[in-house]
Amino acid sequence: MSISAVQNDKADVQDERAAEQALIARAKRNDYGAYEQLYRLHIGRVYALCRRLCKDRDMAEDLAQEAFILAWRKLSSFRGDSAFGSWLYRIATNACLSYLRKQKPFQNSLDIDNTEEESMPDDVDGQMGLEHAIEQLPHGARTVFVLYSLEGHTHDEIAGMLNIAQGSSKAQLHRARQLLQKFLG
């Protein structure tokens, strides 16, 4: 890639960031149209995160909705120290984890010693797609895999979010990868 292409890309990113900052500023002044634009920009990633963490489509939609409502209520405290997207995904992640923590199977599956007891799909030798394979993972392994491999969190961060040891997070990730390799054939 040429230097000018890199410079153009950098300028595009800066323009996008500036446009997003302008939308945030307008939303902070109760401009609902601006917030709708922010919603349209980020709903895809927020929903994908919710869908992969909680599996259930309806619940994922409810959680994505809740994330945007919570973000609106906290918007005045958003100072722009981090990207708006990162801030929003963190809110969505917390909403999902808060929901999952209330589910007993999820709590049980965070203990790596309990994961053997979870029911596994019969059709494990097929060439299923990665998306479907992620859905088949046990709760704990899936959560750590999504947060680590797809969302880019560190084991330290995940351990804090799930209130588990870093070693447990690493073990869950290892298990997720093993199972995915098995599912993917």
């Binding site: 939303a27 902070k28 002044r29 109760n30 609902y32 917030y35 709708e36 919603y39 349209r40 709903i43 895809g44 990633r45 929903y47 994908a48 869908r51 489509r57 994922a60 939609e61 994505a64 909705q65 945007f68 409502i69 609106w72 209520r73 918007l75 005045s76 405290s77 990665l130 998306e131 680590y148 491999s149 797809l150 880019g152 969190h153 560190t154 084991h155 690493k170 073990a171 990730l173 290892h174 990868r177 995915l180 390799q181 993917l184």
Partner: protein, 189 residues
């Protein structure tokens, strides 16, 4: 960021070639995975309905929420001190001097609060049309003039508590006026 080299001790060793191939394939599939999915129903309608009940409020800051109340509290204390002084002084000249001194202190504190709020007011309402802005600034000017007139009256008649109360009300009203965001629907003088 993540460190994909994490591993667990004690796992059975796979053939390195097969393991690398499987790992690479998984890594490639993860890279190619869609980062976005769209929900089947449009969530915006429900979100919009919900957030309409929670309008944004200005963040807590010096020009914002607590300052007018702080000013009001300071004014009450200052004016109470003024009245005590006024009652306690026997000489008319001394009374006037004390009143002048108290009013100067109050005015100086008040202006220190008011001026940053005027700047904030200009910034908040800069997108309004010129006619509305002219109208707003005219009203602010009227309020400021009323404040100055009442201050003069208080200096001349420090025993008149009604004048002092009126001055306090004008201070409060002026700060309230400057706090508003008139670009929002339903806001007017």
């Amino acid at each position: 960021m993540t460190d994909d080299t994490d591993d667990i001790k004690g796992t059975p060793a796979l053939d390195p070639v097969i393991s690398d191939s499987v790992e690479l394939r998984l890594a490639r599939q993860i890279r190619e995975l869609d980062r976005e999915m769209m929900p089947e129903r449009d969530l915006w309608t429900a979100i919009e309905r919900n957030i309409a009940d929670y309008p944004q409020r200005k963040p807590f800051n010096l020009q914002g929420d607590w300052m007018p109340y702080g000013v009001a509290a300071s004014l009450i204390i200052a004016i109470a001190a003024l009245l005590v002084n006024v009652v306690g002084l026997e000489q008319r000249n001394s009374t006037l001097l004390a009143a002048d001194y108290a009013i100067d202190s109050i005015d100086s504190g008040y202006v220190n609060v008011r001026n940053p709020m005027v700047d904030q007011f200009r910034e908040t309402n800069k997108n309004l049309d010129q006619a509305t802005l002219d109208d707003l600034y005219r009203n602010i000017e009227i309020m400021a003039q009323a404040r100055k007139d009442i201050e003069m009256q208080v200096r001349a008649n420090p025993e008149n508590t009604k004048l002092v109360e009126m001055l306090m009300r004008v201070h409060e009203r002026e700060l309230e006026l400057l706090k508003q965001d008139y670009s929002q629907p339903g806001r007017s003088l």
